[in-house]
């Protein structure tokens, strides 16, 4: 039938005055002479034309006469227009050049892992962070499955490439976050304070990061908050450890939104059933709240406010190591507030403006006591307030190149009291930076920048140059190199007691290769990092410490080989030694393991609409300090290897109108013994192993999301 139709059409539409017809034919190839099928060939201004066949050939007739413009169009290629004379009757050879699309443009990638929905070709998606088993929807825990990060699960923070947790800075929309983790108790790490669902982009830089950021010797965790939500919604969650509720409201014109969230966590009922190693004597209880407001001020302008407040109380009793038979009590009250206001706008002539302001305050009240024993309890109060502003101008140069200029000002008040002894200081910190991403060609980019900083408490200025180069060999593969100097103020607890300290410094050298295809990613990096001017506490406080870190890292992610399975494997080899604090000479520090590996496996069962996840992490033993060893054997003992298997299952369904997720997750499913180090009594006669407070954590929760958009209701009612 359709064949008959076709003949009929041919018959009807073949113009009768065929004398005026000219045949145009030819072949289209790319610059490497491969034939291009599917090219749209058209005589401009007429309907006449054709689509090239599998061998790139085309042929059609046109009624147009004389000189005409012929166009050849194909996705991912530059459209070509050429003048032809319809009467010439020659065979046309058309060569199309590939267009420069986002996929083919090289990006600076040395040292950084990016999770983003907006940009193509990123290694991770924001959802990957939430769905990593064993991470408990905590950003830092998910990042520990990536190369470069250590499995330091006895203290909070990201320990990257031989650096301490203090050497990693967290930034939200360009503004520094002090205390991004809940205050921790000794040997028990605190989780991140903010929900991973608030961010559309997460970049984990394990080194060589941009001159836009400073004050992190090792690493930067750069978070970018979402703009406007897709729709209004409300949510509730219930789990074995707490409840949460939230509301997101998007205005009718889709230009303004606000959101509020609150959660309450109480671990004491859970600890009544699962007895932890150390019994709680306060809480543990956490109240968390957060608010956000976002307003699109114009087509290109965006104003965002994000703030959170957390109130924590927790405390534990443990057997005293120093005084056998006695009990040590440790209680902590923490109040933390963070606010962040940013505005960006296109100010014309390709210039963009970014302004940010932030205030945060963190207070820890600690009561530590050996019960029923003199002296009186130690009362420690530490409060840090930070106000900061940041201004950045950036200008697009040509199609891809960007120039950025900016400055920062921070005012920090650090107060601390140990019983009656107070040690307070304040610091005015100013920084200026300039950086250019220069595209020599779309596949070859250089980033050159520098950062100058001045801190009033150190009374010292520094200048940090940073350079990266990246070259993309084809659509998928690229090489990158990075070099940079990084300065950081010593931790407040050292500046408090000695104002003559200066900046600590690290220099990074990174070489990286990556291949990112649609369904798999391979990445490898080699790095060398040199530390100088690290803080030493012996004989007196000084900046004479030094060290190095070097290593090789591998990452492989595959979403194709097994159906409905997505897995990644990461491996890090780290060789690091440092002489800092009270170390007598350079040794491998107690937070660094030589070999670290993770396997993250995610399996989606569409029929059951269930996600299964499994994460296995491994690390070789870490050094620990044994006072019974002679000085030349300082830190020469190693803990046992670390093994951890976390599993999770989430079942997605809808209950009435609500999108519902049930989550079951179990950490350390196999019950592997994990020892992170040892504490010794002062006389060296007794020791206590540092182990997780609960060897295995079982989490069960249910989260419901109600779309309160009217249209959404209609759809659900269909």
């Amino acid at each position: 039938m359709s064949n008959i139709n076709r003949y009929l059409c041919l018959f009807i539409f073949t113009p009768l005055f065929s004398l005026a017809q000219h045949k145009i034919s030819g072949k289209v190839t790319d610059t490497k002479k491969h034939p291009l099928p599917g090219v749209n060939i058209a005589v401009k201004g007429s309907y006449d034309g054709a689509t090239t066949a599998a061998d790139g050939s085309f042929s059609f007739t046109t009624t147009a006469t004389g000189d005409q413009l012929l166009s050849a169009t194909l996705t991912n290629y530059q459209t070509l227009e050429l003048k032809i004379n319809t009467a010439a009757g020659e065979q046309l050879n058309i060569v199309l050049k590939s267009a420069v699309n986002a996929l083919r443009v090289v990006t600076i990638s040395a040292g950084s892992f990016e999770a983003s929905d907006d940009k193509k070709g990123t290694v991770l998606k924001p959802l990957d962070i939430v769905t990593t088993a064993g991470a408990g929807a905590d950003i830092a825990n998910a990042i520990k499955t990536l190369p470069g990060a250590q499995q330091t699960n006895d203290r909070e923070g990201l320990f990257v490439r031989g650096g301490t947790g203090y050497e990693t800075q967290t930034l939200i929309d360009g503004m520094l976050v002090r205390n991004p983790f809940y205050s921790s108790l000794p040997d028990i790490p605190g989780r991140g304070r903010f929900s991973p669902f608030l961010f559309k982009g997460t970049t984990f830089s394990s080194g060589g990061y941009s001159a836009q950021y400073g004050q992190g010797l090792s690493s930067a965790l750069i978070l970018e908050s979402i703009d406007l939500p897709e729709r209004s919604s409300s949510s509730v969650g219930v789990s074995v450890i707490g409840v949460s509720a939230g509301l997101d409201n998007l205005s009718k014109d889709k230009k303004t939104s606000y959101g509020i969230e609150a959660d309450y966590t109480n671990l004491s009922p859970y600890f009544n059933i699962v007895k932890p190693k150390n019994a709680p004597n306060l809480g543990p209880e956490i109240i968390g709240t957060s608010v956000n407001f976002r307003h699109k001020t114009s087509r290109t302008g965006m104003l965002k406010f994000y703030g959170y407040g957390n109130w924590t109380k927790m405390g534990f009793n443990s057997n005293s190591l120093e005084y056998p038979g006695y009990t040590e009590s440790f209680k902590l009250h923490n109040n933390n507030v963070y606010t962040n206001l940013t505005y960006r706008e296109n100010i014309g002539h390709d210039w963009h403006l970014y302004i940010g302001a932030s205030f945060s305050s963190n207070t820890d009240n600690i009561n530590a006591d050996t019960l029923l024993k003199n002296p009186a309890p130690s009362l420690i109060k530490v409060r840090s307030d930070l106000s900061q502003t940041r201004v950045m101008f950036y200008k697009n140069l040509g199609r891809f190149s960007v120039l950025r200029l900016g400055g920062e000002y921070q005012y920090a008040e650090e107060r601390s009291a140990f019983n009656e002894n107070k040690a307070n200081f304040s610091d005015n910190y100013t920084a200026a930076f300039a950086e250019g991403d220069i595209y020599f060609t779309p596949s070859f980019v250089g980033r050159v920048g520098g950062r100058a900083e001045y801190s009033s408490v150190l009374g010292e200025m520094n200048f940090a140059p940073r350079v990266s180069l990246a070259y993309k060999m084809n659509n998928y593969s690229q090489f990158s190199v990075a070099y940079g100097d990084y300065y950081q103020k010593p931790e407040p607890q050292y500046i408090r007691f000695n104002r003559n300290l200066g900046y600590m410094k690290a220099t990074h050298y990174i070489l990286s290769y990556q291949r990112v295809a649609m369904d798999y990613t391979f990445r490898t990096e080699v790095f060398y990092k040199k530390y100088t001017d690290l803080v030493k506490t012996t004989p007196a406080y000084n900046n004479n410490g030094s060290g190095y870190a070097q290593g090789v890292e591998l990452f492989w992610r595959d979403r194709k080989t097994f159906k409905n399975v997505d897995y990644w494997v990461s491996y890090s080899y780290l060789d690091t030694k440092r002489d800092y604090l009270n170390y007598p000479f350079r040794v491998q520090p107690d937070f660094a393991a030589n070999h670290t590996a993770s396997i993250v496996y995610k399996h989606f069962l569409p029929k059951l609409s269930t996600n299964l996840g499994l994460t296995y992490s491994f690390a070789t033993g870490r050094p620990y300090y044994n006072p019974n060893q002679p000085t030349d054997k300082f830190m020469s003992d190693r803990t046992m290897t670390y093994n951890s298997v976390g599993v999770s299952a989430s079942y997605l369904t809808s209950i009435r109108k609500a999108f519902t997720i049930f989550v079951l997750s179990v950490s350390n499913v196999l019950g592997n013994k994990q020892v992170f180090g040892y504490h010794y009594s002062t006389d060296g006669l007794r020791r206590d192993e540092v182990v997780p407070n609960v060897p295995r954590f079982i989490y069960l929760g249910m989260f419901m999301n109600f779309g309160i958009d009217r249209r959404q209701d209609v759809i659900n009612n269909l």
């Binding site: 058209a42 401009k44 034309g49 269909l718």
Partner: protein, 216 residues
């Protein structure tokens, strides 16, 4: 009453557009739109050829929304035939660019909103796990938008029925609801009079096929 009024408005705008057409345009478009319900064109090559032809017509005319609309329809259908999912986004970008042009010429167009919904669905298939939350609701709300522009457009109900049929039950899909919606679509097809021989009129045979599947 409100719906009637909207339908009336919609009819009015289409009629004025139709009046501006040339004979050559009508001929070419009639030929190109005659076999849109035939399964023989639904191969990647066939759809690309059609899309290219519609783009040539659109480019030559510039004031007609229909060739842009059909080009986008062919491109999004081509996206669904692709095995290599990396090709879907570029095609969806192309389709969207054509739909933007169609919408500029004919604002608040129910048919354009239907194709936009298909584009959202195509983007969803690239990575359902991470894109489902965004593009699933977007595809559904575009069909609601299409309904608000013209509730008599049968293709809205066909696409809603299709999504009910292929969505797992836990996510709100349902064979029985699909069946009722598809039956409604057929009623709307029976009552639907295209504004001209070249206005969108595809979908009825496909709806019958879907209905058969919903009854299995």
């Amino acid at each position: 009453m409100k719906r009637l009024f909207l339908a009336f408005l919609f009819t009015g705008s289409v009629t004025t557009a139709v009046m501006a057409q040339s004979a050559q345009y009508t001929e070419a478009m009639t030929k190109q739109t005659s076999d849109l319900d035939s399964s023989s064109i639904f191969t990647a090559e066939g759809l690309q050829q059609k899309a290219n032809t519609f783009e040539r017509i659109a480019d030559a005319e510039k004031s007609q929304w229909l060739p842009y609309y059909y080009a986008a329809y062919m491109q999004v259908m081509q996206a669904f035939t692709l095995k290599d999912k990396s090709g879907i986004d570029p095609l969806a970008d192309k389709a969207e660019a054509n739909l933007d042009k169609a919408e500029a010429l004919s604002p608040k167009n129910s048919e354009v909103a239907c194709i936009r919904s298909l584009v959202a669905t195509a983007r969803l298939t690239v990575d359902p796990m991470s894109r489902g939350m965004k593009y699933g609701p977007e595809a559904a709300s575009l069909l609601e938008q299409a309904k608000s522009f013209n509730p008599e457009n049968p293709r809205i109900y066909m696409l809603q029925g299709q999504s009910l049929l292929f969505t797992p039950e836990q996510w709100g899909g349902s064979k029985s609801k699909a069946k009722t919606t598809l039956e409604l679509a057929l009623e709307k097809f029976a009552a639907f009079k295209p504004e001209s021989s070249i206005a969108p009129h595809w979908g009825e045979p496909y709806t019958r096929k879907l209905l058969e599947q919903s009854q299995q």
